[in-house]
Each structure stands twice: as structure tokens, then as C-alpha cells.
């Protein structure tokens, strides 16, 4: 379906990534957010609080992130599209409810504008050190989708994508920004509403008698109902059967948890978004994401100026990890160079997918600023040796 024009601020804007993310959420149809202030993410909900009363929605500032991360899920089951926004310490507090959203198959979006950690760390400065937490932070086995924008324009475009994936797969989607992308101001073009594709909720058309809340028809994503529609359904974070009833047997656990995993894994090719450039014939491929990809570009340009064959692989979808593509590239290139604003997170995935077929060189950084392009250049030079 097309976007509701009321939420779409069509035009050319000069705004930062946080504000662009808010506009993306509104364009995607989000009419509810529950939040708790935390630097450097707060501008997203500040703008939402100002904008949403004009388009027919609600913002509520909760008492903490525990509350924010479950209030939004209540709103989803009440019939809204909803999201919350946070940064490291708040993201840590939200972990239980990310697992709850995965288990109950609540479509929603968690935005994490990453800052330096651990703990209070560097509230106003960037990092990319929550990437593994985004994937593994809640207990138990589950799958999520995570997207990483590298510009305000992508903060707009990919926030819509995040909501669309959330609805298509009934899964919590992690929108992994960082402080620099959040606070960087650039041109953002917002198209007319009729040019924005929005994925509708997978709402059941069955009658209350026929409806099975967690029954599936082969595509692994069950149909949803909202409270107040007469379905009288039950939903629980306990292991449950197709009726949504608790059923704590190893058989039900196996069936449910494998389905939660497979609905994402089987669709990985469709979820995968990446930017590739100069890959053909490259000796070295720089794998990056988020703000680091923009610094990496400079390092790649410097290396190419020296006549080196360097390719660029920018992950936009970070989870599920593009392991199939990395495995293919490992057959062709000699080495991967992986710069990231952490002491080595996604590089482990690159190394795993490369399976020893290509060298993997991490360019780590503890956060607080971005890399210097020379650091990436040096790693490329090392890789060609």
C-alpha cells in the first residue's frame, strides 16, 4: 500500500539523521512511540512528539526504557505501528523486550543511535559497539533484522524499510545508527506519499472461529489480530502452540524456536541490502557499515590512487549477516579489511564466512571519533603484502 500522505513531509530538506529517522517513521505509518530521553537519540522522539499530534498519533515519555520498550508493543497489539528510540545504556535495558517481541512476533522497530560504551561511556560521541548486542542481546535463540544507515537520507529511506520488514516478517527490527550519522546534517529528499511503498500489517481475514494466532501456512509468518476485534486470542512470552497457549514441551519449543529462526534465515536473500562497487578483480575488499563506510571510501580512494585494486562492500543489512555473499567474495579476493568503531565485532562474522579462504584484517577503534582514512589505507596496504 502507499504511504498515508498526512505523515509524509514531501520536499527537499536540510536535516540531521535523527530528524530524518523520525520523518521515515512517520512516512512508514508509525503513529505511536514510547520513549525515554537519552543522548544522542533524543532528537528523534523530540521531533516525533512535535509532529505526531498533527497526524493523529501519540507520543508518551515513559519512566524508563523498560517501560518504553514494552509500551510500544502494547500499542502494536492495539493496532498501531510503533517504535522506540534509544542509545547504549537504554538499549541494554530494552533487551528483554526485544526477546519478547521476537517470541510474540510483534512487528516493531527499535532505533539505537550508538555511542561509546561500555556503561555510560561516551554519551555524545560515536561508536558501533552494539552490533553484537543487537543480534544476541536478549536471552534464548531468536533472529532479528538490523539495518545500518550511513547518511541522513538513508536514515529516512531505511527507517521505512525497517518498518516494512517488521510488518512482513513480524519481527523486531533494529535500526542501528551512530552518533555521527544521527547528528550529521545533509540534504534529505522526501518523495510524494504515492511514491512510498508501505507494507501493511499481516492481519488475518479469518473469522474468530477459524483463526489460529500462531498457525502458519508454509510461509512461516502467522497472521495477526488486534485487541478489540472479537478474536479473543491469547498471547504469551511462554513457549506456545499454534493457539497461542502455553505448551512447555521440547517438541513445541523446537517447532516454535526453529520457525522464529527460519522465517528470517529462509528469507535472507530478500532481506539483504548491500552496496558493492569495484568488487570485480579486486585483491582487497573493504567491508564496512554505517558512518565507517564513509571514512572507508576515502581510504579506498587513496589506495586506488596508488594503483591498488580495492573493492567496496557496504553492509546495509547487518543482520542477518550477508554470509553467502562474503563466502562468494572470499573465493575471489585475497583479503577483507574490516574497519568498525569497536574492538572487533562484525569482523568475526566476516572471518567466519570467509572460512579461511581470504585473510581478514580488522581495523578496530574504541569509539569517540571516526577512523582516520590513513588507518584504513594502511590496513589495505598490509592486506596486499
Amino acid at each position: 500500500m502507499k504511504a498515508d500522505p498526512k505523515g509524509v513531509l514531501t520536499g527537499t530538506h536540510f536535516i540531521d539523521g535523527d530528524h530524518a529517522c523520525c520523518e521515515g517513521a512517520l512516512a512508514a505509518g508509525a503513529r505511536f512511540s514510547a520513549g525515554y530521553p537519552i543522548t544522542p537519540s533524543t532528537e528523534i522522539v523530540e521531533r516525533f512528539a512535535a509532529r505526531v499530534p498533527l497526524v493523529g498519533g501519540t507520543f508518551i515519555q515513559m519512566e524508563d526504557e523498560l517501560a518504553a520498550s514494552i509500551t510500544l508493543q502494547g500499542a502494536v497489539w492495539g493496532g498501531a505501528k510503533a517504535f522506540t528510540v534509544t542509545s547504549g545504556p537504554g538499549f541494554s535495558l530494552m533487551m528483554e523486550h526485544i526477546g519478547y517481541a521476537a517470541m510474540t512476533e510483534t512487528p516493531c522497530v527499535f532505533v539505537d543511535v550508538q555511542r561509546g560504551g561500555p556503561s555510560t561511556g561516551l554519551p555524545t560521541l560515536p561508536a558501533q559497539a552494539d552490533m553484537m548486542q543487537a543480534r544476541w542481546g536478549s536471552h534464548g535463540d531468536y533472529e532479528v533484522i538490523a539495518l545500518c544507515p550511513n547518511s541522513p537520507q538513508e536514515c529516512f529511506d531505511l527507517t521505512i524499510k525497517a518498518f516494512n520488514f517488521a510488518e512482513e516478517f513480524r519481527v523486531p527490527v533494529m535500526f542501528m545508527m551512530d552518533e555521527v550519522v544521527g547528528h550529521m546534517t545533509e540534504k534529505v529528499v522526501i518523495p510524494p506519499a504515492d511514491r512510498i511503498e508501505v507494507t501493511p500489517r499481516k492481519h488475518t481475514r479469518k473469522s474468530a472461529e477459524e483463526y489460529l494466532p500462531y498457525g502458519t501456512n508454509g510461509d512461516l509468518v502467522p497472521e495477526m489480530a488486534h485487541a478489540g476485534e472479537g478474536y479473543k486470542f491469547h498471547m504469551t512470552g511462554l513457549t506456545h502452540d499454534e493457539r497461542g497457549y502455553p505448551n512447555m514441551t521440547p517438541q513445541t519449543q523446537d517447532k516454535l524456536v526453529r520457525r522464529l529462526q527460519n522465517k528470517i534465515r529462509d528469507a535472507a536473500d530478500r532481506i539483504m541490502i548491500a552496496e558493492e562497487e569495484g568488487i570485480g578483480g579486486a585483491d582487497v575488499i573493504v567491508v564496512s557499515y554505517g558512518i565507517t563506510s564513509r571514512v572507508a571510501q576515502k581510504g579506498i580512494d587513496m589506495a586506488r590512487a596508488r594503483g591498488l585494486k580495492v573493492g567496496k562492500f557496504r553492509m546495509i543489512t547487518c543482520w542477518p549477516f550477508p554470509e553467502k555473499r562474503i563466502r562468494e567474495l572470499a573465493e575471489k579476493a585475497k583479503a577483507f579489511v574490516v574497519p568498525e568503531l569497536n574492538l572487533g565485532q562484525m569482523v568475526r562474522e566476516v572471518e567466519r564466512a570467509a572460512g579461511g579462504k581470504a585473510r581478514t584484517i580488522a581495523v578496530s577503534h574504541a569509539g569517540g571519533s571516526v577512523h582516520r582514512p590513513e588507518e584504513i589505507l594502511n590496513a589495505i596496504l598490509e592486506a596486499t603484502r
Binding site: M62, I70, T71, G74, G79, A80, M235
Partner: protein, 293 residues
């Protein structure tokens, strides 16, 4: 001869029986009172949603034939807040235990009362963490033996009606599972209120609390509730504290009017934005489901 059917049966997921609660437990009694209140109030069941947290009382959501949500530990109230705000036409009941609502969920409890979110909260207080084996709760009275206070509890306990009155609830009552008619009537009254209503139900846990403290079985506890309870409607909540074997002050303590969250939000937004303000529920009415296409 026609088959006799219990009038509350149609409110229950009978395909989930038998339930998990122990013999002598009071939670089933409270559910019966809740169902009676639904019958008496004639409330529309389609617009009624029930939200529970985790614990023995948290399992209520799984047994009622309503849109029912079994959420995470302590977070029934914020989930219910989102549900209510996204669809203001819903009547939302939060049904959970003392540990869930007042310990891990304590912050949400006081803030939802402060905001005066239109929720009906039924708090079954068995004075203990029962599901996990009988540990000390914020409501455990002094000297009581629990799994984590083997030499007797000594932390001062919460007086929940007092806390909720101070936090801003518009309706506060307390009954025991002996007071089935009064409890059903109170639940019905709460449905008539717009705003945050809180009903505490003192309930036995014969398996863990009564047994460890040599307070007898379920029947002995009923006798204690009958003898020790003093109905004092309108009593100052500051005088409603509980001890292990002393008086239990019951009754309706608070019944007042305050604008609820959505009324205040609408008033403030209308004052600031005038006709530019689009109420979320208007949106819902005019265009149907904008989410589902």
C-alpha cells in the same frame, strides 16, 4: 433435563483447565469474582482486554476468554498503557500479583497512577513470591518466614492502598478472598471509573506462605480473614498497613475524580494546537485501520 452450566464458564478458556493453582489458593476465587463483575456490569466483552505480568496471578491472562496478554515480569502496566493509548475504546484490565506489580513493576505502578491512565488494576496480594517457591516480597509482613528470609523478614513492607492513593489513583479498594461479593462489586465500580483504579485482594498461599508460617491451611486462612477483617470504607489508607496475624483493614478507601491521561492530553493538545490537533481515536474512526491496508 438441561445440563447445568456454571455462569462464569463462558468467560473462561475451559480447554485450558485444569489450571495450575494449588488447592486453597485464592487466585481462582478472584477470577470468579472478576467474571461475576463482568456479568453484573454487562460490559462489552469484545472491547475488554486483560493484561498480566509474570507469577501465579500472571497466569490469569491464560485462562480468561478475552483478548489476553501474558507479558514480561513487572511490565503488565506499561504494556497495558500502550494498548489503551493505541485504542482508547478498549477497556483494559491489568491482573497481576504483588511482587510483579509492586517490586519489579513498582516504578510503572506509581507512574501509571500519577498519569491516571484509564486502567483497572487487580492486584492479588499473597504476601510472597509464590511461583518461584515462596521468597520475600515487598509486601511480606515483618517476622514472616520465607525462602529468602529463613530467620524472619525484617524489611518494612508496602501498604499498597496508601502508596496508590499518594501516587494518584482515582479508585482504591482492598478486600480479601473471603469478601467475594464486595470484591465483585468493587471490580464493577472500577469499570464505572475513568482513570487509574487499584483493587488489592489479600489472598492465601497455603503451599508456601501459610505453611511456612504455621498459619494453617486454606480454610484456616478464610477463618482468619473473616475474623481479622474490619470493613472501614473511607478509612485513611495510612491506617491500612498489614501485619502477619493482626487486623486487616478492608473497604473502599478512595473514590475521587481526576481527569484521566487521555482527557488531559486532548485538552492540552487542543489548547495548544486548536483544529490542527488530530485525535488518534478520530483517525481510527474515520479511516478504519490505516495499518492493515
Amino acid at each position: 433435563m438441561s445440563e447445568l452450566v456454571n455462569p462464569v464458564e463462558r468467560f473462561l478458556r475451559t480447554d485450558r483447565m485444569p489450571h495450575i493453582w494449588c488447592p486453597g489458593c485464592g487466585i481462582g476465587t478472584t477470577v470468579n469474582c472478576f467474571a461475576r463483575a463482568l456479568i453484573d456490569s454487562g460490559i462489552d466483552l469484545q472491547s475488554l482486554a486483560l493484561v498480566s505480568g509474570i507469577g501465579c496471578t500472571g497466569r490469569v491472562a491464560g485462562y480468561v476468554k478475552l483478548d489476553s496478554f501474558h507479558t514480561t515480569h513487572g511490565r503488565a502496566i506499561p504494556f497495558a498503557t500502550g494498548l489503551k493509548l493505541a485504542n482508547p475504546k478498549l477497556n483494559v484490565v491489568v491482573y497481576s500479583g504483588d511482587g510483579d506489580l509492586s517490586a519489579i513493576g513498582g516504578n510503572h505502578l506509581i507512574h501509571a497512577a500519577r498519569r491516571n491512565i484509564d486502567l483497572k488494576v487487580i492486584c492479588v496480594n499473597n504476601l510472597i513470591y509464590a511461583m518461584t517457591g515462596g521468597q520475600t516480597a515487598p509486601t511480606t509482613p515483618g517476622h514472616a518466614i520465607t525462602a529468602t528470609s529463613p530467620y524472619g523478614a525484617f524489611e518494612p513492607s508496602f501498604n499498597l492502598p496508601h502508596l496508590l492513593e499518594a501516587a494518584g489513583a482515582v479508585y482504591v479498594a482492598r478486600w480479601t478472598t473471603f469478601h467475594v461479593r464486595q470484591l465483585a462489586r468493587s471490580i464493577g465500580e472500577a469499570f464505572q471509573k475513568k482513570g487509574f483504579s487499584f483493587i488489592e485482594v489479600i489472598s492465601p498461599c497455603p503451599t508456601l506462605y501459610q505453611r511456612r508460617n504455621q498459619l494453617g491451611d486454606g480454610l484456616d486462612t478464610m477463618k482468619y480473614y473473616k475474623e481479622a477483617s474490619k470493613v472501614r470504607n473511607g478509612s485513611p489508607t495510612s491506617e491500612a498497613g498489614l501485619t502477619m496475624t493482626g487486623e486487616i483493614v478492608v473497604g473502599k478507601f478512595v473514590d475521587r475524580e481526576r481527569p484521566d491521561y487521555q482527557t488531559m492530553m486532548t485538552a492540552q493538545m487542543t489548547e495548544s494546537l486548536g483544529e490542527r490537533y488530530i485525535r488518534p481515536e478520530m483517525e481510527h474512526e474515520e479511516e478504519g485501520c490505516g495499518v492493515c491496508g
